[in-house]
Symmetry: C2
Subunit: 210 residues, 2 copies
């Protein structure tokens, strides 16, 4: 089955592909060129079968009797995950969190770059944050157009989240990451990914009940 070109890939699988990529990068740094699914599983505490299943649904990347070529598999995964080109990111709301994300290494890598940021606070407009100059939220549509941002990041107060998602949709971004606790009504063309940091504490707290 050569390239099931994405009939349906579960979010969990995408998660794991991203994880495999991380592991493979570590191996490459150790100058390891070939790796079997078992070796990968042993080193990073994963399931060998699942690795093979996950990969096999997109093509035959391995060599029987040998394993996988690390560099080659990294390329395949980068391509599968859409990481073989750089995605431009715009941050809406430059508070503490927005500022942190603007400078976060993971948001400024080969595959991602924060190219713009807006805020409603006139005092912030014109200041540098990360690699860009903060612009006013009213300019959002123009900012997205001129910067070519594809992904919007919401780090505004909860009450302003819906209107800013709508604004990002209007402005033409293709996906949104939501760091607020607001539950947002979305349109299917612009998927929303929730990142509620508080939930991580709540899940942790569950294991702390005495």
């Amino acid at each position: 089955m050569p390239f099931t070109s994405s009939a349906e890939t579960s979010p969990q699988t995408v998660n794991r592909l991203s994880l495999y990529l991380r592991c493979l990068r570590q191996l490459r740094e150790l100058h390891i060129q070939k790796v079997s699914s078992q070796e990968l599983a042993r080193r990073f505490d994963l399931s060998a079968t699942q690795i093979r299943k996950d990969l096999a649904q997109f093509g035959e990347f391995g060599i029987r009797g040998v394993g996988y070529d690390v560099a080659q598999l990294i390329d395949h995964l980068r391509s599968l995950l859409g990481l073989d080109r750089r995605h431009k990111v715009v941050i809406v709301g430059i508070g503490n969190l927005g500022l942190a994300l603007a400078q976060y290494p993971g948001f400024n890598s080969t595959s991602f770059q924060v190219v713009a940021g807006v805020d409603i606070d006139h005092d912030k407009v014109g200041r540098k944050a990360g690699a860009f100059t903060i612009q006013h939220a009213e300019e959002l549509a123009a900012v997205v157009r001129s910067s070519g941002a594809e992904i919007g990041v919401l780090t505004v107060p909860e009450a302003a989240a819906q209107e800013n998602y709508d604004g990002l949709v209007q402005a033409g971004v293709r996906a949104v990451l939501n760091f607020t606790r607001a539950r947002i009504r979305t349109v299917p063309e612009v998927p929303l990914k929730e990142v509620d940091l508080r939930i991580y504490l709540e899940e942790t707290a569950f294991f702390l009940r005495r």
Copy 2:
């Protein structure tokens, strides 16, 4: 089956309980006192059956023919999730992200409070961040002991993550949130919850392949 007191509750279920809590809080703000599983499902795009299944495994919280009492169910969920007391949090590494989290509303609520933060940079020691004064990383054990922190948050550079997890274990915290991309070897008594912000962008990018 009254109170299966946690034989095994899947992380996914815990996730949803946390989500239900969030929805119920919204209803309470609208002064809604009773709600049925269907109503809840309709409003927040959830599954009514699943809500009932999830709740039923911990007791009989509803009234047949009527529904659930919003305020009462909030209390039950808070108790189930261990949110009925305040958990103290210590942040290790006060960079941009550590600083943002120290002041993040979700980390300073009824159930959580950032009570301390440490960094290895002597210039930062003594400065205020959120509600606490930054202390030196060498003092971690003493800081944890005197502040009574139960949850550690790792916002250090990737290379320092393992040693700081170990330090937090030594210092006596009961769980750790890891915001770095390092893969950390853990001990079972101190569970580690991964929060890799880059993964959210990668998952988003998957839906942007043309």
